[in-house]
C-alpha cells in the first residue's frame, strides 16, 4: 500500500537579497514509498536530499508537482494543502526527525518526549511511561529526564529529539541524518528503532550519511543526482 | 401675593431664582422622578454661596418651595451648624418661609450627610446636597464612559471597590456614600450619608431629591421605591452598629457622633440627629451623661 507518492516535484530558491538570483535545487522528482518500506535518499551534499524531505514535511514550498500522502482516510497533496491541513497531517500521520533539537525553555526532557503522545490524547501517566522507556532505550541518563535539555550536550539533545520523533505512531516518518555524531551503542539503538517502525508498517524516507546505518535499515536507495535541476 | 411681598422686600424673585430657571430645574426634577436613580444634567446656576456649600440642594429647594412650606435644614444631622443656619437664613430672606428644626413639622428638609432618625411621611420632601453624584467615578474617570456604563446597566465593576475593601479590611469598609441600586436599574451614590442611613432610603414614603451644583446633576428616588445596597452573597450589606446608647437621651439604634469632653481622653457618644435627641430628652428620656454639669442638655455641637 502506497503511503507516499511523490510526483514530478521541483524546487528552486529565489534570492531577492542577491538581485533575484535563482538557485535551482531539484526537478522531476518522482518516487513512491509503501507501508513498511524504508527508502534512503542518496547523493552528495547539496544534491537536494534535505530539500526533498522538507518539501514532503511542508517545511519548504513546492514549486511544481504533487506530494500525495495517504493519511488513512484521505489522500492529501502537501504541495497544495492549506497550513491547517498540513498541521493536521503532522499531528496524526507525518513525523520528522532531524539531528537538531529546538529547545523550548523550561520544559523537561521527559515532557518534550511525551508531548506528541499527549497531543494525540494519551493520558499523562501512560505518555510518561512510554517516554521513559524510549529515553532508557536511547541510553539517556535518568538524572537528566526531568531537566530542560538547554544545558545538555549535543549528543544528549540529539537523543531527546530522536526519542520525541520516534515515540508516536505515524504512517510516514522522515529521517534527516538521525544518527549523525552518535556513538556506536546509540547508533545501534536508533537502527533498532527504525527497524521496529518498519516492522510496524511505517513508511520511512531517510537521509543517512553512515553507509552502515543505511545498509542496515533501507530497502532501497534513491540517488538524488538523477533529479538535478537544469 | 406672598411672592410679590418677597420680591418687594428683598429685591429678589421668590426663592431667589427667576421663574424660568425654576421651571428648568423642575423639568429636570420631573425627569429624575420618572427615571429613578438616573442623573439628569441641569444648568446649575451661580448662587450667592460657593459651590460645594450645598448649591445643588439649594437650587432644588428653591425650585420646589412654596410660601406655605416649612423648611428644615440639617448638616451632619444638626440644625445649628454654620451651613445649616446660613441656608435656613437664606430661604427665610428670599422666600419668607417658615423654618423649623423639628423633623415632624417640616415639609421640605434639606440635608447634608444624614437622613433624620424620625421616619418621614408622604407629605415631606428630602433634598440632599451632593458633592460627587457619580458612583462609577472611582473606576472610570471619563464621563462619556460612565454615562455609557449607566445606559448599558454595566455595573459589574462596582463590586471591584467592595472586593478591595474586604481584601484589605476583612469587611466592606465603605461607610459613607455606599452605592445602591435604585428600582433594580440605576446604581446611585446616595450622597455622603453614612451607610447606616441606606436602609431608610428603601421604600421611603417621602420623595427624595438629590442636587449636585458643581457637577450639574439632579437625581431622585420617588416615594416607595426599592433601594438596595450593593454587597456580596457571603458579605451581605450591614449598617454600622453602636455598642452603647446615646449619652444624652439613651436612644439605641440611632447614628451616634463621638464628642471629646476633655484633654484626658474623656468622650461620649451622642445622637447625630439633634432634633431627635432633644425630642427624646424633652419626653423625659435620660442618657448616662444627661444632667452632667459639662453638658447644657442642648445636644452636642459637632
Amino acid at each position: 500500500m502506497t503511503v507516499l507518492d511523490v510526483q514530478d516535484i521541483a524546487k528552486s530558491f529565489t534570492l531577492h537579497l542577491r538581485g533575484g538570483l535563482t538557485l535551482p535545487v531539484v526537478a522531476g522528482v518522482s518516487f513512491e514509498v509503501a507501508a513498511g518500506e524504508c527508502v534512503a535518499l542518496g547523493g552528495p551534499s547539496g544534491a537536494g536530499k534535505s530539500s526533498i524531505l522538507k518539501m514532503i514535511y511542508g517545511n519548504y514550498r513546492t514549486d511544481a508537482g504533487r506530494i500525495l500522502i495517504d493519511d488513512g482516510a484521505a489522500v492529501i497533496d502537501v504541495a497544495s494543502a492549506s497550513p491547517r491541513e498540513i498541521l493536521a497531517l503532522r499531528a496524526t500521520t507525518l513525523g520528522y526527525v532531524s539531528q537538531f533539537l529546538r529547545v523550548i525553555p523550561r520544559v523537561a526532557a521527559l515532557d518534550i518526549v511525551a508531548e506528541p503522545l499527549r497531543a494525540r490524547g494519551i493520558d499523562t501517566t501512560e505518555a510518561n511511561a512510554r517516554a521513559s522507556a524510549m529515553l532508557k532505550r536511547l541510553n539517556l541518563p535518568e538524572r537528566l529526564w526531568h531537566l530542560p535539555p538547554a544545558t545538555f550536550s549535543g549528543g544528549e539533545q540529539q537523543r531527546v529529539n530522536i526519542a520525541r520523533g520516534f515515540i508516536a505512531d505515524t504512517r510516514l516518518l522522515l529521517l534527516d541524518e538521525p544518527t549523525a555524531s552518535l556513538d556506536g551503542a546509540n547508533r545501534d539503538a536508533v537502527i533498532g528503532l527504525i527497524r521496529d517502525k518498519r516492522a510496524a508498517g511505517t513508511a520511512l524516507v531517510g537521509i543517512f550519511h553512515d553507509d552502515e546505518v543505511r545498509d542496515a535499515v533501507a530497502d532501497r536507495t534513491l540517488d538524488v543526482r538523477a533529479f538535478a535541476a537544469a | 401675593m406672598s411672592e410679590a411681598i418677597a420680591t418687594e422686600r428683598t429685591a429678589y424673585n421668590f426663592a431667589y431664582l427667576d421663574e424660568q430657571t425654576k421651571r428648568a430645574i423642575r423639568r429636570a426634577i420631573l425627569k429624575a422622578i420618572a427615571i429613578p436613580g438616573y442623573q439628569v444634567p441641569f444648568a446649575s446656576r451661580e448662587m450667592p454661596m460657593p459651590r460645594g456649600w450645598g448649591t445643588g440642594g439649594v437650587q432644588v429647594t428653591a425650585a420646589i418651595i412654596g410660601p406655605d412650606d416649612v423648611l428644615k435644614v440639617i448638616d451632619q444631622g444638626a440644625d445649628d451648624t454654620t451651613n445649616a443656619v446660613a441656608i435656613r437664613g437664606f430661604f427665610t430672606r428670599v422666600a419668607n418661609v417658615a423654618t423649623t428644626t423639628r423633623t415632624v413639622e417640616a415639609t421640605i428638609i434639606q440635608t447634608r450627610h444624614r437622613v433624620p432618625e424620625t421616619p418621614l411621611n408622604a407629605d415631606q420632601i428630602l433634598v440632599y446636597q451632593v458633592p460627587i453624584p457619580e458612583p462609577l467615578r472611582f473606576l472610570e474617570p471619563r464621563e462619556t464612559e460612565t454615562r455609557k456604563l449607566h445606559a448599558l446597566a454595566d455595573y459589574g465593576t462596582m463590586h471591584v471597590k467592595l472586593y478591595e475593601d474586604i481584601a484589605h479590611f476583612g469587611e466592606i469598609a465603605t461607610t459613607y456614600a455606599y452605592p445602591v441600586t435604585v428600582d433594580g436599574r440605576y446604581v446611585m451614590d446616595p450622597s455622603p450619608i453614612p451607610k447606616f442611613d441606606n436602609p431608610k432610603l428603601d421604600d421611603c414614603p417621602a420623595l427624595q431629591l438629590f442636587g449636585a451644583g458643581r457637577e450639574k446633576r439632579i437625581y431622585a428616588v420617588p416615594p416607595h421605591t426599592r433601594v438596595v445596597s450593593l454587597d456580596f452573597e457571603d458579605h451581605p450589606f450591614a449598617p454600622q452598629r453602636f455598642t452603647e446608647p446615646c449619652a444624652l437621651c439613651g436612644a439605641t439604634g440611632v447614628f451616634l457622633d463621638e464628642v471629646i469632653l476633655d484633654d484626658r481622653g474623656g468622650r461620649m457618644f451622642v445622637c447625630s440627629d439633634t432634633d431627635f435627641c432633644n425630642g427624646r430628652q424633652a419626653a423625659g428620656h435620660r442618657g448616662r451623661l444627661a444632667g452632667n454639669p459639662i453638658e447644657s442638655g442642648e445636644g452636642a455641637d459637632v
Binding site: 530558491f13 529565489t14 534570492l15 531577492h16 537579497l17 522538507k54 511542508g58 517545511n59 519548504y60 514550498r61 497550513p83 491547517r84 491541513e85 498540513i86 498541521l87 493536521a88 523550548i104 525553555p105 523550561r106 520544559v107 | 473606576l139 455609557k148 448599558l152 454595566d154 459589574g156 465593576t157 463590586h159 471591584v160 471597590k161 472586593y163 478591595e164 474586604i166 481584601a167 484589605h168 456580596f232 452573597e233 457571603d234 458579605h235
Partner: protein
C-alpha cells in the same frame, strides 16, 4: 478539518484620513489556532488587531465571529452590550504595556476578579478563589493577591494581565507585542507560560509581534505585513524557513542566529 472557523476577516481596510492603516486583509482563524502577524513598526499590524478586536471601525470589510451559541455574527452589527460581553468573556486582549491592560489602583486579586464580577459573580469567596487559582497558574505567589500591581515587576505585571484575561475562559485572545519591553530572561519565561497556557486551554490567538522568534515559538501560521498589506502568509515554519517575498527574506535574514 470541516469544523466552522472561529473568526473570518474579509477585505479589512482602514484609512486614517488619507493615510493607509491596512488594506484588504482576509483570513480565517479556527479554534485553537495561533496566528502571528509580523512586520515592522507602521506596517499596519496593530491597526489590524484594532479592527479585529472592534476597537477600530473598518473603512471597508467585515469581521465575522462564531459566538458561543454557534451563530456567526458580523461584529460591526453587534449591539454595544453584546460587544462588551464578548470582549470580557469570550475574548481577551493582552497589551504590550501592562499598565494599559490592568487597573493599577486596585489589587492583583481584584484585577483578576473584575471580569467575573462583570459577568455577575457575587460571591466574594468564589471570586477570590478563582483569582488565587489564576495567580498560581501564571506563577504569582499566593501571598501577593492583595498587593497592588504597582509593586510588581514588569514580567509579573504581564503575567497578571494574562490571568486577568483568561479567568473567563475566553476562546480567542489578541496579543499585542506581549513580550515587548521585557528583559530577555523574563521574556523567555513569559513566552513559555503563554505557550503552555495556549496549548492547555486550546486558545485561538492573534499575536502581533516584530520578533520572529516569538512567532516561531508560539504560532502555527504567520502573516507578514508591509505598508498596510499582507505580503506573505502560510505555515509558520514554512514562511520562516523558505520565505518567498523579498521583504520576508530580509526580515528572516536580519535575525541573529542563536
Amino acid at each position: 478539518m470541516c469544523e466552522e472557523p472561529l473568526l473570518i476577516a474579509e477585505g479589512l481596510t482602514k484609512f486614517y484620513g488619507a493615510r493607509l492603516g491596512c488594506r484588504d486583509v482576509s483570513f480565517t482563524l479556527h479554534a485553537g489556532e495561533v496566528l502571528a502577524v509580523v512586520g515592522e513598526s507602521g506596517s499596519g499590524k496593530s491597526t489590524l488587531l484594532g479592527l479585529l478586536s472592534t476597537e477600530l471601525a473598518p473603512s471597508a470589510g467585515h469581521v465575522r465571529y462564531s459566538m458561543r451559541d454557534g451563530s456567526l455574527r458580523d461584529l460591526a452589527e453587534l449591539s454595544e452590550p453584546e460587544r462588551r460581553l464578548l470582549l470580557r468573556t469570550d475574548w481577551g486582549f493582552v497589551r504590550q504595556s501592562p499598565e494599559a491592560g490592568l487597573r493599577m489602583a486596585v489589587s492583583a486579586g481584584a484585577n483578576v476578579g473584575e471580569r467575573l464580577m462583570a459577568v455577575g459573580w457575587r460571591h466574594y469567596g468564589n471570586i477570590r478563589g478563582a483569582a488565587a487559582d489564576w495567580l498560581g497558574r501564571v506563577e504569582i505567589a499566593a501571598d501577593r493577591i492583595d498587593d497592588s500591581p504597582k509593586s510588581f515587576s514588569g514580567g509579573m505585571r504581564q503575567r497578571l494581565q494574562i490571568a486577568r484575561n483568561l479567568v473567563t475562559a475566553p476562546r480567542l485572545v489578541f496579543m499585542d507585542e506581549p513580550t515587548g519591553g521585557l528583559d530577555v530572561s523574563v521574556q523567555a519565561r513569559l513566552l513559555d507560560l503563554i505557550r503552555s497556557l495556549v496549548a492547555d486551554l486550546g486558545l485561538a490567538v492573534v499575536i502581533v509581534t516584530h520578533d520572529l522568534a516569538v512567532a516561531r515559538l508560539l504560532s502555527h501560521r504567520i502573516m507578514v505585513m508591509k505598508e498596510g498589506c499582507v505580503i506573505e502568509e502560510g505555515l509558520t515554519d514554512q514562511v520562516l524557513d523558505d520565505p518567498q517575498a523579498a521583504y520576508t527574506q530580509l526580515l528572516v535574514s536580519s535575525v541573529l542566529q542563536s
